[in-house]
């Protein structure tokens, strides 16, 4: 037992909090992430973490709740991207870039003002890298509630979102407001990303959003299966990463433990690489078969579209 779990792993308070928050974040990120990946909005998903971070440093400067800053920043950023034109494929990349650039400029100002006015040396590092081990237990309920809310919204707009992710024409033909669905998804993504950036740091936020989802989408054509697979991969990477980070304190002679984000991101990255291997794809072929055989319903068009896309 001690070979794998160094002493005190299960009795340590911060570790338990990290295990719970990590799992909740990984789960929500995986579900939102599958849509982010199939809609090719990874850049926006990542940019929103930086935009949320700007909101966080702004809140830090103004002395209001950082959680409010993170989520508020993300939502404003999502709105700005939509305004510039994130819904059109051609200008999406640029719209995201413009918002991201402006946000990082603002972040530079806030961090400068933070560090010069209050001399809180940990501020920059805390905001940029965050740590899953320094979450206050009091934030757990809030994170859980907001995560549940995010998942509920995704569940609510699941059908139109699915349709609009694969065929703009089909969506319009059904009288669904394409831009409205897109904006609603962006806002949901912003809340989810803001939440995970404050809980686990902005690096992990992007890693958990994109990594497990991109790996799963390569292995299955069914969105539901991809979501389940992504959730499993995300939670496994998070828990193993926490375990390795805890143990690494005992591995390195200097006693200078490696950051947990390093381990989780490495695991996610390895999962993604493995998902691209031919051996894995061939042996997991049964995951793909499912949806492609259904009749001539819109679903089969979707399945076909997704086959081409993925």
């Amino acid at each position: 037992m001690h070979i794998l779990f160094e002493p005190g792993f299960f009795t340590c308070g911060p570790v338990r909090v990290a295990l719970v928050i990590g799992a909740v974040t990984a789960l929500t990120s995986a579900v939102v992430g599958v849509f982010t990946v199939v809609r090719s909005q990874s850049f926006a998903g990542h940019a929103l973490t930086d935009v949320a971070t700007t909101g966080g440093s702004g809140a830090f400067f103004l002395g209001i709740s950082p959680l409010l800053g993170f989520i508020g920043g993300g939502v404003i950023g999502a709105g700005a991207m939509d305004l510039i034109g994130v819904q059109r494929i051609r200008s999406r990349d640029m719209a995201t870039g413009i918002v991201l650039g402006s946000a990082t400029g603002l972040a530079a100002l806030f961090l400068y003002l933070d560090t010069t006015t209050s001399a809180t040396t940990g501020a920059t590092q805390q905001i940029l890298f965050g740590s899953i081990f320094t979450i206050e237990p009091a934030t757990i309920p809030l994170v859980v509630i907001l995560s549940a809310l995010t998942l509920a919204v995704i569940g609510l707009i699941y059908r139109p979102l699915l349709l609009s992710s694969f065929s703009a024409e089909l969506t319009r033909a059904r009288g669904i407001n394409l831009r409205g669905v897109g904006l609603l998804f962006m806002i949901t993504m912003a809340v989810s990303v803001g939440l995970s950036s404050i809980a686990v740091g902005s690096i992990l936020s992007t890693a958990l959003l994109i990594g497990p989802a991109a790996a799963s989408v390569r292995l299955t054509n069914s969105l539901r299966a991809a979501m389940i697979l992504a959730s499993v991969l995300g939670v496994v990477a998070t828990w193993l990463g926490i375990l390795f980070a805890y143990d690494s304190f005992y591995w390195i002679p200097s006693g200078q433990a490696l950051p947990v984000s390093f381990f989780i991101v490495s695991l996610v990255f390895v999962f993604y690489l493995i998902s691209g291997l031919d051996v894995v794809r061939r042996n997991l072929g049964w995951l793909k078969a499912e949806r492609l055989t259904t009749g001539s319903t819109p679903q089969s068009a979707l399945a076909l579209a997704s086959k081409v896309e993925l």
Binding site: S40, D93, L100, G105
Partner: protein, 268 residues
């Protein structure tokens, strides 16, 4: 304002703006904004690693930005380019976090790597920046026609036997080169802003390629010059002003486009 250390700042900023204007034009045209964000940020991890190993940070920056460019190029063949870029970016940032955890660097060092210290440029830094800048411009000039063709008319490019993946990787290497030269001077976050805002604004004013590129350089120059002057006067970070002015130019461009549409004015 134009003497001593400020003279270095003006020179370095001018070189950086010209390169960012030219390279950024293609970043916007080709939709490579995410890679242009990921490469400088990943390069920051290289600098942190070089610090830990006590080697020249430029080597760390170069190795990591080149690695990022080649990695994104190679993995994009089998996966979605945007997801691959995101994963490459977070992997490098995580490495950076690991390096930082093992070193005893004081925090302002991190801050300056990300946000740059254009007002603290030494005269010995100008020459390498200028050399790498010339390399970037020459590389863009050599790739010019191929870059244009693969971004504007992919079918014709394919018919002529050009391989878009290779051109994209070559372009990312140019971005990596521009990154290596600019990160120590203006910081990882700022170079990205300069590569997106001015070219995006310039494209609102003209449809002609050469003019848009020239406009992009002019706007980038105006942006950094105004930013340095304002930063000198107020002491606020240069990065803040660069992003404010870039966003303002783009806003003006969009207003112009809207005005043009309502008045039916056509562009040359």
């Amino acid at each position: 304002m134009f003497t001593g250390f400020m003279a270095n700042a003006w020179q370095a900023a001018t070189i950086v703006a010209i390169v960012a204007g030219v390279v950024g034009f293609f970043v916007v045209l080709r939709g490579s904004a995410f890679a242009a964000h990921a490469i400088p940020n990943g390069a920051f991890a290289g600098a942190a690693g070089a610090n830990l190993l006590a080697v020249n940070p430029l080597i760390g920056l170069g190795v990591f930005s080149l690695g990022a460019a080649l990695g994104i190029g190679a993995m994009s063949r089998r996966g979605r380019p945007d997801a691959v870029t995101a994963l490459t970016l977070v992997m490098m940032l995580a490495l950076g976090a690991a390096f930082l955890s093992q070193s005893t660097q004081y925090e302002p060092e991190i801050f300056s790597l990300l946000f740059g210290e254009i007002l603290g440029v030494s005269s010995s830094q100008i020459l390498p920046v200028a050399v790498l800048g010339v390399v970037c411009i020459v590389a863009v000039a050599v790739l010019y026609r191929r870059l244009l063709l693969t971004s504007i008319a992919p079918e014709i490019a394919a018919a002529r036997g050009l391989r878009p993946q290779r051109i994209e990787t070559a372009f990312l290497v140019v971005v990596a080169c521009a990154t290596t030269m600019t990160v120590p001077v203006v910081g990882a976050l700022l170079i990205f802003t300069l590569m997106i805002g001015p070219p995006a604004a310039a494209r609102c004013f003209t449809n002609r390629t050469e003019r848009a590129m020239l406009g992009s350089v002019v706007i980038a120059l105006l942006t950094v010059w105004m930013a340095i002057a304002c930063s000198y006067e107020t002491n606020w970070p240069v990065g803040f002003y660069v992003s404010v002015f870039s966003a303002t130019w783009y806003g003006v461009g969009r207003v112009f486009v809207a005005w043009r549409k309502t008045h039916g004015v056509h562009l040359e």
